[in-house]
């Protein structure tokens, strides 16, 4: 059974880590979760991002879900936002592409241009 005491340990560990690296979020991932996104597999895209963050212990990445943004024909759509850089929008995503984006873009800092459908605001 998981208890709130487990969370206290996690918090202490996380606070220690945040002190070391200054506490900022390096990458923000926004997964489009409108009706058409969900129908096209956005939930599995979200799930894979969470698995990768957990497995690779990526402590400076944030993931959120949002509604549709008018790119229905390219769903599932994912925005990657890094401080001081133009927003990158990936389209037609699936779990395999997510794993590649995590390794290439989030870990190694190289945009996976094959999957990009838009950049900037």
């Amino acid at each position: 059974m998981k208890t709130l005491a487990d969370l206290k340990k996690i918090r202490e560990k996380a606070q220690e880590e945040m002190k070391l690296r200054g506490g900022s979020v390096r990458v923000k991932i926004v997964v489009g979760m409108g009706t058409s996104g969900i129908a096209m597999g956005a939930r599995e895209v979200m799930k894979t991002f969470l698995e990768e963050i957990s497995n690779r212990n990526l402590t400076d990445v944030l993931v959120t879900q949002t509604g549709e943004k008018g790119l229905s024909s390219m769903e599932p759509v994912v925005d990657l936002i890094e401080e001081g850089k133009a927003k990158v929008t990936y389209g037609n995503m699936n779990p395999d592409k997510v794993r590649k984006v995590v390794v290439e873009h989030i870990v190694n800092g190289r945009v996976v241009s094959d999957y990009v459908v838009a950049t900037g605001d």
């Binding site: 998981k2 709130l4 996690i10 918090r11 979760m33 009706t35 599995e44 979200m46």
Partner: protein, 189 residues
């Protein structure tokens, strides 16, 4: 949508879009009553009776900022419930919120599977840190009842400024939901 959990995710996203701060999700499997019931209750902006009726029409959408002129989420969920001899009820009060109750006949041949409930709940909880979720799973089988309660407010309070997407937190929520889903026999439903 291939399963009920995907519809559930779609409904939760509606609640979030209606600026809900609290979303209560109940999944009840009652073997004796041959019933699978999903209840989603939010304290979002709510709808007046006209909008409520319109929301069940596929050619209505509240998402006016987009070019899209259809809203299939609710009509499809309703259709899928009715296909399995179930029912779909939505009630709402502007300023107070919306309650949606969807029933399926548990052993109906045309009932879609419950699907990956954990992926729906984990994504919604972690993906909307501003919303407090209360998840209740209940399994009844002729007098025996198992239930699971999960409230994210207590977790967030314990975590302070540590985000829900912190790796160990994802794992914590994932495992908690997993245990709850197993204990209430909500796998392969």
């Amino acid at each position: 949508m291939q399963d009920i959990s995907l519809h559930l995710l779609d409904i939760i996203e509606n609640s979030v879009r209606a600026r809900a701060r609290n979303v209560k999700i109940r999944v009840i499997k009652d073997v004796g009553a041959n019933l699978l019931r999903i209840i989603v209750e939010d304290d979002g902006s709510g709808m007046d009776s006209e909008t409520l009726a319109m929301a069940q029409n596929p050619f209505y959408t509240s998402k006016a900022e987009r070019e899209k002129k259809v809203g299939l989420g609710i009509p499809l969920f309703k259709q899928n419930a009715e296909l399995s001899n179930g029912s779909f009820m939505m009630s709402s009060q502007p300023g107070f919120g919306t309650v949606l109750t969807v029933d399926f006949e548990l052993n109906h041949i045309d009932r879609m599977p419950l699907g990956n409930l954990k992926a729906t709940l984990l994504g919604a909880i972690v993906g909307h840190p501003e919303v407090d979720f209360h998840v209740i799973l209940i399994h009844c089988d002729r007098g025996r009842e198992h239930s699971f309660h999960f409230e994210t407010a207590a977790i967030k309070e314990e975590l302070g400024d540590i985000p829900l997407t912190y790796p160990d937190v994802i794992e914590y929520i994932d495992q908690s939901l997993n245990e709850g889903i197993q204990n209430t026999n909500m796998e392969n439903v």
